[in-house]
Amino acid sequence: MKLLVNLLKLPTFVFSVGLLLLTIFLALLGPFFYPIDVISKVGPPYMAPNAEHLLGTDNLGVDMVSLLIAGLRSSLYVGLFAGIIATAVGTFLGVYAGFKGGWIDDLINMVTNLFLVIPTFVVLILISASLTEGRSLELIGIIIGCTTWTWTTRSVRAQASSLKARDHIALARVNGAGTLKLAMLHILPYLLSYVFMVFIIQVATGVAMEATISMIGLGPFDTVSLGIILESAMNNDALNDGIWWAFIPATVLLTVIVFSLYTLNTSMETVFNPRLRK
């Protein structure tokens, strides 16, 4: 816990955790403070913000603030979902490749390159084209997760292979530790902090990717997410009619989430990155 103590001393860490907690607080506890109603029509389409509806309405006359809160919730959900999958897959492959080395390392490297070659939205469309009931949040999370783990694998592999040379691994190997036990017991705890940082980046990528995908029109069906709000703003010509409340609040929220996650990651970098720590 010594790490946590001197982490809290860092101003950037405190700032980013604060920001992140604020957004999560807004997403989870928002409905208790502000009545969330994503269905009913509360005003004419694209009504200007007024006292009662702080951010006006969208093209179907639904209150924008409740849309934003619901959208924030599902965007975070997809980001988290994708982050978990990407980090799990990436870490496992990274550690295994980094540690084993030899042809397995090349094989896993090849699989990573393979996933780089196939762009995400190709996979997304082709899978959604074959599903009849359409794209749920989980499906989008899974697909984003399955196509963004390549970055994790590469960085974890670099870490794992640099740690392999460290002496305490050689020591453990001398007294007969099997590869898996070795990896789990010795490499992983050492990497745990780094994996956590990678997880944060993956969640940020997940959120940003979900928004990008729904911009192309491949977003989740009949649920609201920040990407869907932006897409409907663009499709309904909100930009050149000066309807700023259709897209600026959603962009700000997206940026806040991703920015807080990135600052969290960099603030922990100096403390956690094993390569820096001798």
Partner: protein, 659 residues
């Protein structure tokens, strides 16, 4: 730049970037063929020798790679700047001589071959700027205006047109009945030619000559097919089939030795021989440019020696219709036929429409929800009528369609324009459903359906009189079609409020198209009979209710996707098909009205589809910053159509430059 030289190979042969390595002794020449240049790049051993200690070895290597790289880059760029179609002397088009119109062409222009299934602007079938039709159907006056020919006479067995002797092709050969016969009979010669289906309606085409003014003129007679007996459908095809230069096309057919698919490969984009006032000048993935033909035969004959005002017509190709609305407000675009939300907010930027206030456009077609009448409970008439009562039509129009549609009346006859004569208010009052949720609930209860609510009072599911649970119904709509999606969202909200368990079934565009014809849906959002043609409203009834060529679910059916009125089943209503058969042949107005009213009543009783809004076939928006005197409600010299469609072309002659 040593080590690299370009020689120009015979132009015209285009090859994609292919690199052939040819060894000359130790020095390796990589020969890159690109477009019509051959580049010989001297690169010595590409694989680097092991650590040679020569000084500066690496620097030379880097320099060589960068030469290769920059060479490719600067050659790739002009790849997209090669000229297409005709030599281009001037590269910029003066604003005062150019008219910009949008909304017809989406996606890269592919081919300008009139025989193709889906040619690009301006060859696409309703447009008559390059290849012209025999006659024009003026949607404003509902008359047949003359173009290449004029409607001579129409009896119940033959329709005849008299060709205008002055008609000429751009290579100055006269346009004769041979061209007309070729354009129509090509459908017989090749099975998958675009207009093959005309031969279902006509038996034969004969040509004779009659006296016309001082000289002689050819008359073309179309004999109406006996078993179909449908002059309306013939008129439909008449205004869609373009007349092609037979002397050019026959030569091309001989060239590809009679292989139709090979004929389609010919894009016909280089100096095409046309009969219309404009010809294809140059095109790219960003725009198609047409140039005025000063030697157009119609100038003297049809337009009192006046040339069309714009010398160039440019159709910029946008990637989403949001760009069209921006360009229109900035005055960079003169005319657009795209859907544009909140048109009233753009009035101050000089954007005008046909009507100056709501509904802004002349309605012509009806987007509706097609119901799959073979699936339980949708095969129950009462269930369908209940749905019709549950929809808040005003709300759908205001929210999802910006109020562009006049109030929707039950039935599928438009109480406006051409169809107004067949519209009967008392039928609609007696049979037609209106927004009345209580009535919908009553109808459901009478038919034995009960809605089960969950604890928050929202609808959970429905059960029928036997207590079996009814599966949730889905309204299929493709993602990305924002106006349709908004309508379906609102309709699902209203239906669920009335206790009908329906949900929005957004699906991928490909699945949407695939499932239509084979009946693999509960309900789906579509616009049957989406083109404005003389055969309306008959063609609308035909494409919704006709059981003429019935196919069971799973096989493709080309009309009546909802499979209403199945001939094999006992409830088959013979009057629908008999009415559909006799209406086209009716000439007496009173009988026609009688027949249409009967059809409309049957429609309202059986409710095979749920009409939602009225919308124009193409929107009609123009900017007064470039050109003025566009036709409007107050100044209707031409119908509200794009200047390249049908009678809309007269706009090109009447618009004046805004000083």
């Amino acid at each position: 730049m040593q080590g690299y030289h370009v020689e120009k190979r015979g132009c015209g042969i285009k090859k994609c970037l292919k690199s052939i390595i040819r060894y000359k002794g130790l020095i390796k020449y990589s020969k890159v063929i690109y477009n019509n240049y051959i580049i010989m790049i001297k690169t010595d051993r590409l694989l680097n020798k092991p650590e040679s200690n020569k000084k500066g070895k690496k620097m030379k290597e880097i320099k060589r790679y960068s030469v290769l790289f920059t060479a490719c880059l600067c050659l790739v760029f002009p790849g997209c700047t090669k000229k297409k179609g005709g030599a281009v002397d001037i590269t910029s088009f003066p604003r005062e001589k150019t008219m910009y119109l949008a909304g017809v062409q989406w996606g890269d222009p592919t081919t300008f071959n009139p025989l193709d299934q889906n040619p690009s602007f301006p060859v696409w079938f309703p447009s008559n700027l390059m290849y012209e039709h025999l006659v024009i159907h003026n949607t404003l006056t509902n008359k047949i205006d003359p173009l290449l020919a004029r409607l001579h006479s129409q009896t119940d067995s033959v329709i005849s047109f008299v060709l205008n002797p002055a008609a000429r092709w751009s290579d100055n050969t006269p346009l004769t009945s041979i061209d007309v016969k070729f354009s129509y009979e090509i459908g017989k010669r090749y099975e998958d030619a675009p207009y093959g289906y005309i031969w279902d309606y006509i038996d034969s085409i004969t040509v004779d000559t009659i006296a016309e003014g001082e000289g002689k003129a050819e008359r073309v007679n179309f004999y109406i097919g006996k078993e179909e007996d449908n002059p309306l459908a013939i008129l439909d095809v008449m205004i869609q089939t373009v007349i092609m230069p037979s002397h050019i096309m026959e030569a091309k057919i001989k060239e590809c030795n009679n292989d139709f698919s090979k004929l389609l490969q010919d894009k016909m984009d280089k100096d095409p021989v046309v009969s219309g006032p404009y010809t294809l000048y140059v095109y790219s993935n960003e725009k198609v440019v047409c140039k005025r033909r000063d030697d157009y035969w119609g100038v003297a004959v049809l337009y009192q020696n006046r040339l069309p005002k714009p010398e160039f017509i440019i159709h910029p190709i946008y990637k989403s219709n949001e760009h069209a609305s921006i360009a229109l407000q900035k005055g960079e675009l003169d005319f657009s036929s795209d859907y544009m939300p909140r048109i009233w907010m753009k009035a101050k930027a000089g954007v005008r429409t046909w009507y100056s206030s709501a509904p802004y456009f002349v309605p012509a077609v009806i987007p509706m929800i097609t119901i799959n009448c073979t699936r339980y409970p949708l095969n129950d008439k009462a269930f369908r009528r209940a749905m019709a009562f549950a929809i808040n039509y005003k709300n759908v129009n205001e929210l999802a369609f910006d109020g562009y549609s006049p109030d929707v009346k039950p039935g599928i006859i438009l109480p406006f324009g051409i169809e107004k004569a067949y519209y009967a208010e008392e039928d609609v009052q007696r049979h037609g459903p209106a927004y009345n949720p209580e009535m919908a609930k009553k109808l459901l209860a009478d038919a034995g359906y009960t809605s089960v609510l969950d604890k928050e009072g929202k609808l959970d599911y429905m059960i029928n009189w036997k207590g079996e649970r009814i599966p949730t119904l889905y309204i299929k709509v493709p993602t990305g079609w924002s106006d349709f999606e908004a309508m379906v969202k609102l309709v699902t909200k209203d239906l669920r409020a009335a206790g009908i368990d329906v949900r929005e079934g957004a699906c991928d565009e490909s699945l949407y198209y695939q499932s239509q014809m084979v009946g693999d849906f509960d309900l789906f959002m579509d616009t049957p009979a989406g083109t404005l043609s003389p055969s309306l409203p008959w063609s609308r009834f035909q494409s919704i209710m006709s059981a003429r060529n019935w196919r069971p679910v799973g096989e493709r059916m080309t009309e009546n996707f909802g499979r209403y009125n199945n001939p094999e089943e006992p409830g088959y209503n013979t009057t629908v098909d008999s009415l559909l058969r006799i209406i086209p042949a009716l000439s007496d107005e009173a009988e026609k009205i009688q027949a249409y009213r009967a059809l409309n009543v049957i429609f309202m009783q059986d409710q095979p589809t749920l009409p939602l809004v009225y919308r124009p076939e193409y929107f009609f928006e123009f900017s007064i910053k470039g050109w003025t005197n566009f036709p409007t409600e107050e100044n209707p010299y031409a119908p509200p159509q794009s200047p390249c469609f049908g009678a809309g072309r007269n706009i090109l002659w009447e618009i004046t430059l805004k000083k």
